[in-house]
C-alpha cells in the first residue's frame, strides 16, 4: 500500500537527532541500544535478509522437490537466461510499465482536479473529502472482487448502463478480451488510487500562501494562468512525492490483478508481481521467481534514486 511510504518519504530529510543527550552517562550505552536493537533486528530479518537471499536464490536451481530434499544447487546464470528468454516475462515487463504509467496518470489528473475542487469552501466539502477515502481504505482484494462483478460481461452493471444508454453497441468484454483487460485493470486501479492522490495534493494546496493567488489576481492573471504559473510550481515537491510513492506501490501490483483477472485472459494482464508469484508459488521454481523479483527491485531502485535526487534539489532550494 502506498501509504506506508508516505511518512517515510521525507522524514529522512529532517536533520538527524541531536547528539547532546546521547553521550552522558545515565542508563549507559547498552540500555539505549536496547530501545533500538529489536526493531533493527526485525527489519534486518524481514527486509534485509530477503533482499540478500533473493539475489542468492536467483542463481540456484529450485524444483518442486527442493523442500523435501533440501537441495538447491547453484546453476550460474541458468535462471536468468530462462526468464529473459521467456515471452511471459517480457510481456509482463511491458504490461507492468503500461499499467503503472496509465494508473499514475489517471490517479494524478483526477486526484489533482478533485483536490483543486475541494479547496473551494462550501458545505459538505470536508464530509465529502472524508467519505471519498473509503475506496482506498477497503482491502484491495475486496474492491477488486467487487469490480470483477461490476465489469462482468453478461451480468455486470457497467455493461447494463452502457448498453442502456446506447453508449456501447453490445456488452463490452472488459475482463474477457485480451485487448481490453489491461485497460480495465488500470481503470480499477485509478479508482482505488484517486483518494490517496487527492488527500496528499489537497494538503499541498493548503500550504500555498493565499496572498500569492491574490497577488497573481491583482496582476491580472486568470484562473488557469494562476494555476499554471503559481499553483503548479509551488506544488512541485508534493507532486514528486505523490508520483514516486504511487510508482513504488503500483509497480509491484499483485492483489488487484490476481483477484480481477488472475493474469489472464491469455496472460494479457501478467505483471512482474504476478509472474514472480506464479513462478515461485505455483511452479515452485523459486530461483526463477527470484530473478523476476530482482528485476522488480531494480526498477523500483532506479525510480527511488531519481526521487531522492529530485527531493534533495527541492529541499536544497527551499532552505
Amino acid at each position: 500500500m502506498t501509504i506506508t511510504a508516505t511518512g517515510a518519504a521525507t522524514a529522512g530529510t529532517r536533520p538527524p537527532a541531536e547528539r547532546t543527550t546521547g553521550g552522558r552517562g545515565r542508563g549507559g550505552g547498552l540500555l539505549r541500544w536496547c530501545f533500538v536493537a529489536p526493531a533493527v533486528l526485525y527489519m534486518l530479518a524481514f527486509f534485509g535478509y530477503p533482499l540478500v537471499r533473493n539475489i542468492l536464490m536467483s542463481f540456484q536451481h529450485y524444483t518442486p522437490r527442493t523442500y523435501f530434499t533440501g537441495s538447491s544447487p547453484f546453476n550460474g546464470l541458468g535462471n536468468w537466461r530462462a526468464v529473459f528468454s521467456d515471452p511471459l516475462f517480457t510481456g509482463s515487463l511491458w504490461h507492468t510499465l503500461v499499467f503503472t504509467a496509465g494508473s499514475l496518470l489517471g490517479q494524478f489528473v483526477i486526484g489533482l482536479a478533485l483536490a483543486v475542487f475541494f479547496s473551494r469552501r462550501f458545505r459538505l466539502s470536508g464530509f465529502a473529502r472524508a467519505v471519498l477515502l473509503l475506496p482506498w481504505l477497503v482491502p484491495m482484494v475486496v474492491t477488486s472482487i467487487v469490480w470483477r462483478k461490476l465489469l462482468d460481461q453478461d451480468t455486470g452493471v457497467i455493461n447494463t448502463v452502457l448498453t442502456g444508454l446506447h453508449l456501447a453497441s453490445g456488452p463490452v468484454p472488459w475482463l474477457s478480451s485480451p485487448g481490453v483487460a489491461l485497460l480495465s485493470a488500470i481503470l480499477v486501479n485509478v479508482w482505488i488510487g484517486i483518494p490517496f492522490n487527492m488527500v496528499i495534493l489537497y494538503g499541498g494546496l493548503q500550504e500555498i500562501p493565499r496572498d500569492l493567488h491574490e497577488a497573481a489576481a491583482l496582476d491580472g492573471a486568470g484562473a488557469w494562468r494562476t494555476f499554471r504559473s503559481v499553483t503548479l510550481p509551488m506544488l512541485r515537491p508534493v507532486v514528486t512525492v505523490v508520483l514516486v510513492l504511487g510508482f513504488m506501490s503500483t509497480v509491484k501490483i499483485l492483489d488487484l490483478i490476481l483477484a480481477l483477472t488472475a493474469g489472464g485472459p491469455a496472460d494479457a494482464t501478467q505483471t512482474l508481481g504476478t509472474v514472480t508469484y506464479r513462478l515461485s508459488f505455483e511452479q515452485l521454481d523459486f530461483g526463477q521467481g527470484a530473478v523476476v523479483g530482482n528485476v522488480l527491485i531494480a526498477v523500483s531502485a532506479v525510480f527511488a534514486v531519481l526521487y531522492l535526487r529530485a527531493n534533495r534539489a527541492d529541499f536544497g532550494r527551499g532552505k
Binding site: 501509504i3 506506508t4 508516505t6 511518512g7 521525507t10 522524514a11 529522512g12 529532517r14 537527532a17 543527550t21 553521550g23 545515565r26 542508563g27 541500544w33 536496547c34 530501545f35 533500538v36 529489536p38 533493527v40 526485525y42 527489519m43 524481514f46 527486509f47 533482499l51 537471499r53 533473493n54 478533485l114 475541494f118 473551494r120 462550501f122 458545505r123 459538505l124 465529502a128 471519498l132 477515502l133 473509503l134 477497503v138 472482487i145 469490480w147 462483478k149 461490476l150 451480468t155 447494463t160 488527500v199 512525492v241 513504488m248 509491484k252 499483485l254 492483489d255 490476481l258 483477484a259 508481481g273 508469484y277 523459486f286 527470484a290 523479483g293 530482482n294 522488480l296 527491485i297 523500483s300
Partner: protein, 272 residues
C-alpha cells in the same frame, strides 16, 4: 480569501454530490447486491427494495472463522509493530546513537522492497522455522507492513517532545526506560493511535503474505478466503458481496471514529 456567492456555493455542493455518487457507486453496488435475496442475480435491482439479511447470514456462517482469523492477525500485528517501533523511534529521536541516520535511511529504503520479494525469500526461512501455516508467522510478517511507517511517524513526533520534560523525570531518579513508559508514551498518544490504526488496516488488508505463507487451510484470513472462493466458479455473489461488506467494516469504522488520525497518517510528514 475570496468570497463566493451563495448560489455558487450551492453549485459546488451539487457538483460534490455528483462526484460522490460516481466514485462511491461501486461500493454502493456491493452493498446493494449483498442486501438482495436470490442467489442467481442474473439481473440486480437498482435498489434493495426487498432487502434481507440472508446473504449476511450465509456469509457469516461460512466466513465467520476467516473474519476472526483476520481480526486476531491484525491485532497481533499492531502489538508487535508498536512494541518494536515505539522504543526504537524514541531511541532514534533522542539518544544520538551512532548510526541513527543510517537506520532511518534504511527504514526508508525498506519501502522499496516489494512484498512478493520478501515472501519469495521468507517462505523457505518460514519452512525451516515451522512458521508456515501459523498465526504467529502471519502476525510477524504482517507487522512488517506497518513497521517502517510507524517508526518514521513516531520518530517525527517524538523529536518534538520537549527535552526538559524527560530530563526532569531523569533528575527525579527515573531511568530511561521508566521515563519512556511514564512520560514519552502517554505524550505520544496521538501518534501511537495513528500508527496502530494504519498497521491494523495494512494487516487486515494483507493478501500477499496470507496467500504465500499458508499452504493449508489452517490459517485463512478473510482476504484469502474470498479470493479462493471466487477462484472457484462463483454462483453465490450475494454471499460474496456480504462478506465484502463485512470486510470493509473496519475501514468504515475508522473513517467515522478516527478521521482525524487517518488524515494525519496520510499526510504523515510527507507534505511539509
Amino acid at each position: 480569501m475570496r468570497h463566493t456567492s451563495a448560489p455558487r456555493r450551492h453549485g459546488n455542493t451539487v457538483i460534490a454530490v455528483v462526484i460522490l455518487v460516481i466514485l462511491l457507486f461501486p461500493l454502493y453496488w456491493m452493498v446493494n447486491i449483498a442486501l438482495q435475496p436470490g442467489e442467481g442475480l442474473a439481473s440486480t435491482d437498482w435498489f434493495p427494495v426487498d432487502a434481507g439479511l440472508g446473504n449476511f447470514r450465509r456469509a457469516l456462517s461460512s466466513q465467520g472463522g476467516s473474519l476472526a482469523t483476520s481480526l486476531v492477525v491484525a491485532l497481533g500485528a499492531v502489538v508487535v509493530c508498536l512494541a518494536l517501533a515505539a522504543p526504537a523511534a524514541y531511541g532514534l529521536a533522542r539518544f544520538g546513537l551512532r548510526g541513527s541516520r543510517t537506520i532511518v535511511f534504511g527504514t526508508l529504503i525498506t519501502q522499496m522492497v516489494p512484498g512478493i520479494v520478501v515472501a519469495n525469500a521468507l517462505y523457505s526461512a518460514y519452512v525451516d522455522l515451522h512458521l508456515v501455516n501459523s498465526v504467529l508467522g502471519l502476525i510477524l510478517a504482517d507487522a512488517s507492513l506497518g513497521l517502517p511507517f510507524s517508526l518514521v511517524l513516531l520518530r517525527a513526533f517524538m523529536v518534538s517532545i520537549p527535552r526538559e520534560v524527560v530530563e526532569a523525570a531523569l533528575v527525579d531518579g527515573a531511568n530511561r526506560f521508566t521515563a519512556f513508559v511514564r512520560i514519552v508514551l502517554p505524550m505520544s498518544r496521538n501518534a501511537l493511535i495513528t500508527s496502530g490504526l494504519f498497521t491494523f488496516l495494512f494487516a487486515w488488508s494483507d493478501f500477499m503474505f496470507a496467500l504465500t505463507l499458508n499452504t493449508t487451510d489452517d490459517v485463512k484470513p478473510v482476504t484469502l478466503s474470498m479470493y479462493e472462493y471466487i477462484g472457484a466458479h462463483v454462483s453465490d455473489w450475494g454471499a460474496v458481496m456480504a462478506t465484502a461488506v463485512v470486510s470493509a467494516v473496519p475501514a468504515a469504522i475508522l473513517l467515522v471514529l478516527a478521521q482525524k488520525y487517518v488524515a494525519a497518517g496520510i499526510s504523515g510528514g510527507s507534505v511539509k
